[in-house]
């Protein structure tokens, strides 16, 4: 009965192989693919379309507290405030205005408040062309010196835009200069960058950027 023995040997071998395979597959012995590292969701603050600053016009629109803009609660009418300078011709800011950083123009040359503010009526601006401008018209004040920028801003080339590019379908929304620039220190401030791309195998070295 050589044949019978052979058959049972083969069948037995197959049974052992299949059992081993079944055990291996059910027990996930070959292993699952290693799941990629979980990337944390980005902070929603980075998705905000809000401007860096809030303009006077925004405050009026949202009916915020405007008491900071009522100069004559502290100052006296018909008595223009006197500017004080130290020995380096640096403006000495009075205590109530300590929060202002004087950084408009290079080399501290633009150190005279009355280049923009009207000393005889602090509620107004005085551009050099002699117009009287209110706080809400600050963009026209900036444009009285920065003419090319104002031209660009009016055509939508400078500054933020949102809303509709197609004006027949909806309005375009524009912002004032002071929504992004601090008028006393207009350079756009630095900010922390949003997280960069997460790589599957850790951060790869990028070429030295020097």
């Amino acid at each position: 009965m050589q044949n019978g023995r052979k058959t049972s040997l083969v069948l037995g071998g197959l049974a052992v192989t299949f059992t081993a395979l079944a055990a291996a597959f059910l027990g996930d012995l070959p292993g699952r693919p290693v799941p990629p590292p979980v990337v944390p969701l980005v902070d929603r603050a980075f998705l905000s379309t809000a401007t860096v600053r809030i303009s006077y016009a925004d405050l009026v629109k949202t009916k915020e507290d405007l008491s900071d803009f009522e100069c004559y609660t502290c100052h006296q009418k018909d008595k223009p405030p006197v500017l004080k300078y130290d020995e380096n011709q640096k403006l000495v800011l009075p205590k109530a205005h300590r929060d202002i950083v004087m950084g408009h123009g290079t080399h501290g040359r633009n150190n005279n408040c009355y280049n923009c503010h009207n000393e005889s009526n602090l509620l107004l601006f005085q551009p050099h062309d002699g117009r009287d401008l209110k706080f809400a018209d600050s963009t026209q004040l900036c444009g009285s010196c920065h003419t090319p920028i104002l031209r660009d801003w009016e055509s939508g080339v400078h500054g933020r835009t949102s809303g509709f590019w197609n004006r027949t379908l909806g309005p375009i929304e524009r912002k004032d200069c002071v929504n992004c620039h601090d008028p006393h220190s207009p350079k756009f401030p630095g900010r922390p960058p949003a997280p960069g791309p997460h790589q599957l195998h850790g951060q790869s070295p990028t070429p030295a950027a020097t």
């Binding site: 299949f18 395979l21 905000s48 590019w165 379908l169 950027a209």
Partner: protein
């Protein structure tokens, strides 16, 4: 063996013992085969018969498109738990889109990158981002010296400028030329679009693109339900499947409805400008007329992009 000498051995050679043995072997064999097929049954997004039988985008009638949109809305709701509003937006007449980016103003804050991901329902983990911001040393346009993994405390850093790179919407797109199934094509408003239901995932276009603008969905995109943008377009930001390509499409779901793209609206510095180049009063027309437009990126490869970089300081 004893069984072979048994007197009750039937003529066909089958005894109870050998029957039991054979069936035991067969059962374990079947179990092994079934368990080895287990991963197949765990797959979720088999394409439905409807999707399999779907016609080519350009050949579909409006009614067929309506059915496809209904199917997509159902699929998205099932998979992500959010009922979307999917539209099939066609190009407008007399419109050709152009993008302009002000290199003097960009501070490299990467807000555009994440606004794009949020708007376009891109996979969060693993991450797919259609915008890559390169930090470049001043005085060179050598792309090899760009770094996109920078992470300083604060940007901009002294001595560097930042160059966001995304799909350049070329007038002569190499990605379209290499697609073997015409799943990607250029539309009359200049946007190169992808039909995610027609893409076979061969990734030829990814290899052809000189801007690294095309990305492949290696896994099923993972998007938390509370971050799904339900305003979707068929050729735009509807969630992709595993195994298809995607790229920037100038936010067709917004721009073909007259709105600005998401990356533009989120830019804190107003460096990004978008509009219709055929309208002489649009921002982009003014920029190309009056600003120092440095170049189209990799001008020498002849792709002729609709994405321009310019300076104004």
């Amino acid at each position: 063996m004893s069984c072979s000498t048994s007197p009750s051995d039937p003529a066909d050679g089958m005894t109870r013992r050998s029957f039991l043995r054979t069936s035991a072997v067969l059962a374990t064999g079947l179990a092994a085969v079934a368990s080895s097929l287990k991963p197949l049954f765990e797959m979720e997004d088999f394409s439905s018969a409807e999707q399999f039988m779907q016609k080519y985008y350009k050949e579909m009638t409006p009614e067929e498109m309506g059915q496809v949109i209904k199917r997509i809305e159902g699929e998205v709701e099932k998979q992500y738990g959010v009922r979307p509003h999917v539209r099939d937006l066609r190009p407008m007449d007399g419109v050709e889109f152009v993008y302009a980016l002000n290199l003097s103003r960009c501070i490299g804050c990467r807000k555009c990158v994440h606004a794009c991901v949020a708007e376009n329902n891109q996979s969060r983990s693993p991450e797919i981002q259609d915008i890559r911001v390169l930090k470049m040393p001043q005085g060179t346009f050598d792309m090899d010296r760009g770094d996109h993994t920078y992470a300083p405390e604060s940007v901009p850093e002294k001595g560097f400028f930042y160059m966001p790179v995304q799909c350049q919407q070329c007038r002569n797109p190499p990605c379209v030329k290499v697609c073997p199934v015409h799943a990607t094509w250029q539309e009359s408003d200049g946007i190169t679009v992808i039909d995610y239901d027609w893409c076979i995932g061969c990734r030829y276009c990814e290899a052809a693109c000189p801007y690294w603008a095309r990305h492949f969905n290696f896994t099923k995109p993972s998007i938390p339900a509370d971050r799904i943008n339900p305003d979707m377009a068929y050729l735009g930001n509807r969630p992709r499947k595993q195994g298809v390509m995607e790229k920037c499409h100038f936010c067709v779901q917004r721009t073909r409805a007259g709105r600005y793209p998401a990356c533009l609206e989120v830019c804190p510095t107003g460096s990004r400008k978008f509009g219709n180049i055929l309208d002489p009063n649009s921002e982009v027309s003014q920029i190309l007329r009056t600003k120092r437009v440095f170049t189209q990126l990799k001008e020498d490869v002849g792709t002729n992009p609709r994405f321009y970089y310019y300076f104004d300081v």
